[in-house]
Symmetry: C2
Subunit: 381 residues, 2 copies
Amino acid sequence: MTVEMAHDRHTETIPVMRPQLPAADQLEAYLRRIDATRYYSNHGPLLRELERRLALHFHVQPAQLAVVANGTVALSAALLAVGAPAGTRCLLPSWTFVGSAAAVWAANLTPYFVDVSPQTWMLDPLELERRTDLDGVGAVMVVSAFGAPVDTAAWDAFTERTAIPVIIDCAASFDTVTSVASARPGKSPIMISLHATKVIGTGEGGLVLSTDERVMNRFHRICNFGVWDSPEGQILGYNGKLSEYHAAVGLAALDGWERRRESLAALTRRYATALAQRGVTTLPHYANGWVSCYCNVAVDDAAGTILRLEKAGIATRRWWQSGVHRQRAYRPFGRDDLPVTDDLGSHVFGLPFFHDMTDAQFERVMRSFDEARSGLRAAML
Amino acid sequence: MTVEMAHDRHTETIPVMRPQLPAADQLEAYLRRIDATRYYSNHGPLLRELERRLALHFHVQPAQLAVVANGTVALSAALLAVGAPAGTRCLLPSWTFVGSAAAVWAANLTPYFVDVSPQTWMLDPLELERRTDLDGVGAVMVVSAFGAPVDTAAWDAFTERTAIPVIIDCAASFDTVTSVASARPGKSPIMISLHATKVIGTGEGGLVLSTDERVMNRFHRICNFGVWDSPEGQILGYNGKLSEYHAAVGLAALDGWERRRESLAALTRRYATALAQRGVTTLPHYANGWVSCYCNVAVDDAAGTILRLEKAGIATRRWWQSGVHRQRAYRPFGRDDLPVTDDLGSHVFGLPFFHDMTDAQFERVMRSFDEARSGLRAAML
């Protein structure tokens, strides 16, 4: 009996991610405020407070920020807000989560996949500007690779020179946009996910930042069915409303953000050091003063490594699979040749990463990672 | 001081609607289960339990029901699930909430507005079938008028004869589809809103019912970005995920449904009797064994009546305004002549309706309504 339990404990799988949002006790005071007002959605008082607090957090004006139902609808609404005309082409990387492409389609735009830079795993603004087929492009969706800093000024400059609006899918960049100066919000709207899996979350949710208050004003309306002031649909829109319940979770999560960030930063440094010692490739600019909810590595035999880790009870995830262009729903859409994306898709996967990972868990991950790699080398001889 | 207070109490505005979802105490046990599992969204255990309990409630198989993020995304996803081809025309009534048309657009379909029957305030399946322009119509969206029963078998027959798929926006019909035999779910997917303003709610939320399990299977996938089983986008999709927090609210709301329904039924009967005594036109089939969250009337001088009620501190709402076709965002889309919709838009508005309306409030509404009408008659002489 005791032996069995010890065995079970030893082989317990370490998950790749283990979200934790505020507990019921931390929500209670906020929930009682909902009871008192009987206001449950439709831009209620808790959501307005969450937006005010987040504006302070991001050092922006309240009119430069909006919190909505989820990151996907936020991306679609941002595409409408910047004026991407229905029926036009939207350039985006294939190296992203499928939701980015889904958001393009739901905005009545046609996704067209372009390759990312091997230096950043992201679109390159200068390279994109050199394209000779920008006529008929209604918008560009830039995607931050797993929270990595996007050079927002460079993309604002791209829009100024090409007149093509840009939106930036920074789903995992809640911390990056405050911690890295070059990633601060510019005119091109930035979407940050507040999904439970991110560093801070509301359950489902997303926020958008832009210094262009005219665009943000449109964005607000679009997320309320295009209805504002008068109860009529003034512009096309979505139901992007965040409920007061999710706002309550977000407020409680903000209460605990500083402590959460410390845990994530410690784990990030620990991974970065251990992987650098071993000469393992990580996401470019990883552990450069910002935290996210991932630790992605690129290794030669990713499939073999993943399999051996799985046998050792270490869960991993190929977060972005082989790119969106290889997924059945998106194969019919146009694209360039995508050698960098294909390369990343073959080699990149995420190691377990969560704020309350124990020392023992971290050591078991690295030990299993080492064993998997030496096992693969031995098998090759 | 006492006089002032009495005056304040007398002139306190009676709202047109006053939502009330379960209080924090009723949520607590469910929230603690979320804490225990650390599962927050992505079709979690509370959502699965809510779906099981709702399937029992609606007397359908679990595979015939899905609960998602909101009614609007549910409508878009249902249009995709029934196979409405992108770029085709979707016929729908203009006599609806703007969200219906927004959902059509987000499914990459072109809204085309047709008129409703004066007998039902809804589309008529036989009349629609007689149209000579059904080629190029990819789908029909039927809309229940404020919770009124839709003849689901007649619409299934429409689809069988025309091969045009139908979805039914029954946003306010949570009770109707169980209480009225002819409104029971058929093959054509039915959407019921779980927004806070409805008779039962999750905050934001919506559910879809269909006896076509192949369609429901597609619907489930579409609401998860088109991703299922393998982590790849197999079909186009949306983020339609409902969080565990909203599922918790839904479960607690179901716990209290029977009592809530009794209050709503009593108020419905009371309004129906009072309005029938006065010869006032209400929604066709109102108070016919089902409850909703509205009491809509049609009167000659609606604008004048609304104004006088407002002065008496009675809030009203022209829930569907003058129809969607008159709203700026939807004026560019095609439509028939819409005389019935125009007529309803000029005459219909909602009186205050909420489950905990007091006798004194109800009597004040009816007294003010009588005074408004007699005042208008006197002014006309």
